[in-house]
Amino acid sequence: MRPSKQRSANSALLRYLGLRLALLIPTVLILVTVVFFFMRVIGDPITAAQGGRLSASELEARREAAGYNRPIWVQYFEYLGNILRGDFGIASKDHREITEVVLTNGAATLELVFWALLVAFAVGIPLGRLAARYHDRLPDVSIRTFAVLFYAAPVFFVGLLLKLLFSSQLGWLPASGRATFETRLELGRMENPSHILIIDAVRSGSFDYVVDVLRHAVLPAITLGLLTAGVFIRLIRINLLETVQADYVTAARARGVAERKVVSKHAFRNALIPVVTVMGMEIALMLGGAILTETTFEWDGIGYQLSQYLLARDFIAVQGIVTAIALVIALASFLIDVINALVDPRVRY
């Protein structure tokens, strides 16, 4: 490639990524809009949260003070404006700032998702490759059965079984929480805590804290990780089966390339392209799974917190958190596009 062509290729990539970024705006806007109006179908946040407990006149006074008697469009645009300024509101249940909730509890979810992805990659990719390699033979059958069972088992049931076995019966691992009370207390006293406990624990320099945090992470990580691993296995298996039949794989074989290299350098790399794309969608699934895992293990992540606010009908908090989640998903799907461009040169140029 001449330098000029190289530059134009880069600018094509930038243009592509810029376009993907621009396309995120309507996505987020639609979600925020859908959630806002869904929530308001039931009524304004004050009526929803305080409905039975206040007299009609008191309710009215509060509504007026909060501005909920204005036309819904005015409220909608005011809400959009607030979001743009980074103001997600204050929860009426516990008067926490939503931004703060998203940052601290979000960190907990991030930690959980990180551990779970570790499990999912470690289990999913080798098993997926193995299943494809022994297509329709015993390893494939057992791995597929395994994948079906873990897909079929709800995360909270897997969590329950793990708790029963490793916590209640064997007593090896803690049943819930992210760390023991004193660890949290100590780590909470740190300056600028990241709220990602493993980082804070490492920073504290105490080996006991690190072990404590890790012990608490094992069961939730396996629970959420296996759910995701099931998806990975299926995806990698089916895509590998497809790419090992591709002409370029036969052509590589005909050139005398060793079988191991044919699979890993040609088939697997190409099989990853659709896997990366689907992973973008898996983020949503993982967040759904995170809500359930967090509830099962009382892991105070964003999903757990959200379901608490939902049960309390605190719609200001719900709206704020949901908007934040939509933003995170949009950003994550953008990251997936970037990865995709790195894996697939046809996107890059």
Binding site: L19, D247, T250, A251, A252, R269, N270, P345, Y349
Partner: protein, 555 residues
Amino acid sequence: MTRPLLRARDLTVSFQTDGAPVRAVKRVSFEVAKGEVLAIVGESGSGKTVSSRAMIGLLPRTARIEGSAQIDETELIGLRGEAMRAVRGDRIAMVFQEPSTALDPVRTVGWQIREALQAHRRMTRRQAMARAIELLELVGIPEPAQRIRSYPHQMSGGQKQRVMIAMAIACDPEVIIADEPTTALDVTVQAQILDLLHDLRERLGTAIILITHNMGIVADLADRVAVMFRGELVEQGKAEDVFERPSHPYTQHLLSSVPYLGRERPAAMNTAAPKVENEVVLAVKDLKVYFPGRIGSPAVQAIDGVSLELRRHEILALVGESGSGKTTLGRCAVGLLPPSSGQLTVLGQSLDRIKPDVLRALRKRLGFVFQDPAASLNPRMAVGACIAEPMTVHGEGTSQSRRERVRELLEAVELPAEFASRYPHELSGGQRQRVSLARSLAMGPELLVADEPTSALDVSVQAKVLEVFVRLQHQMGFACLFITHDLAVVDLLADRIAVMKSGQLVELGTRQEVLRHPKEQYTRDLIAAVPLPDPAAQRLRQRQRRGAGLEVATS
């Protein structure tokens, strides 16, 4: 020739299926000597690819291979693992039909050539890269040092096939198996690739097994010919002998079916044609069609200002290579695509902002035959329903009269009446295309657009379809826009010819003018690139072409 280099003896391949095993190749024997080109000729499914792949173990696990294939003293059948790997690419290399799928899309071509080299040679990365550049230069890729960093999708089809050939010769193999190496390419590019193969044989002395269905290519390149039919090798001999005196009925049939550019039309095609009248049925004036590019990239100009007229009873052939805009023009003519600008008048009716119901009424008088007969018939509908579809949607006749008409149409395309109740996938390609023709003729159209109607078919089947087509045109007298890339087919049936290139009209004239006395250089190149199914004549053309300059080989 000298001692055979590669020898197959009684090669038999059968495939394990759910039912009984299926024998794909039956006791096939052939051999090829150093520097020799052996063409294995046959139609799809004749077993020519299976037998060649069997030799280097590229068949699926369900294949059972018997017999013997030896390169020098090494027995190939039964060779496994490392031993087989050492043969592939190093002693026997392969060139595939579809260069765009045979190259890994996520690796640069340099990476792939390097991989081919390092599979057999101890080389550093730097040495391999230097050799890769040499190889690209050898196969005529300009600026090889830069192109080595390109990904396959950044290259043209011809360039990709050159890269495939570069990989095949990377380790100086003794034999190259070229499996339909030019089928996916345009005819001018095909000529270049054939020249390249010819050149490699001369320079490197590589033996080539050329698998093809195209008798023109055989005539161009082959020293000897082996003809396969239904998994058997029915005839084998020197190229001149096979062309001159084919002994097996299948070979005779095949050779008689191949259309020959520049020869007299066969009797079956030369019946009394209806007189072309002056009335214009299709008028195209300064037609332009753009396709919007992907967001951020410019629009693609498919047709760039084309004007032409088609008269009643006339067959106008629209000729061009891929990307010339010929298919786009055909689709515009029946209102499947809206023109971006210019005028399009069909049977006196302008298609500009035409109302849907007016267009529907107009379509009663139009017909269209598609390229791929398998895809153009709804797989969920019986043949009878497919043929009756135009009558059904226009509410023509009763179901009784429609059935009657379907029977007539089937008869007209020489198919038995009971085919009406069959499903498309139960028919052969040629039969399906005749069904497609019957459907397009159901309403007795005045204008028929045929888009590459025979290019998905084998030659011997193509001949039958063309014969039926010409007879019906003579009987029914519809005007026809016949879109094709095959000049030999054009010579069989066209009254006038329009040559297109990159969305523009290059030349327009009668068949005699365009094919015998072309005015434009492009038309001349196109005609010169068509390989003639006659070794002596083709040798002559070859010499002229190669004498004409090396710019063909490097462009």
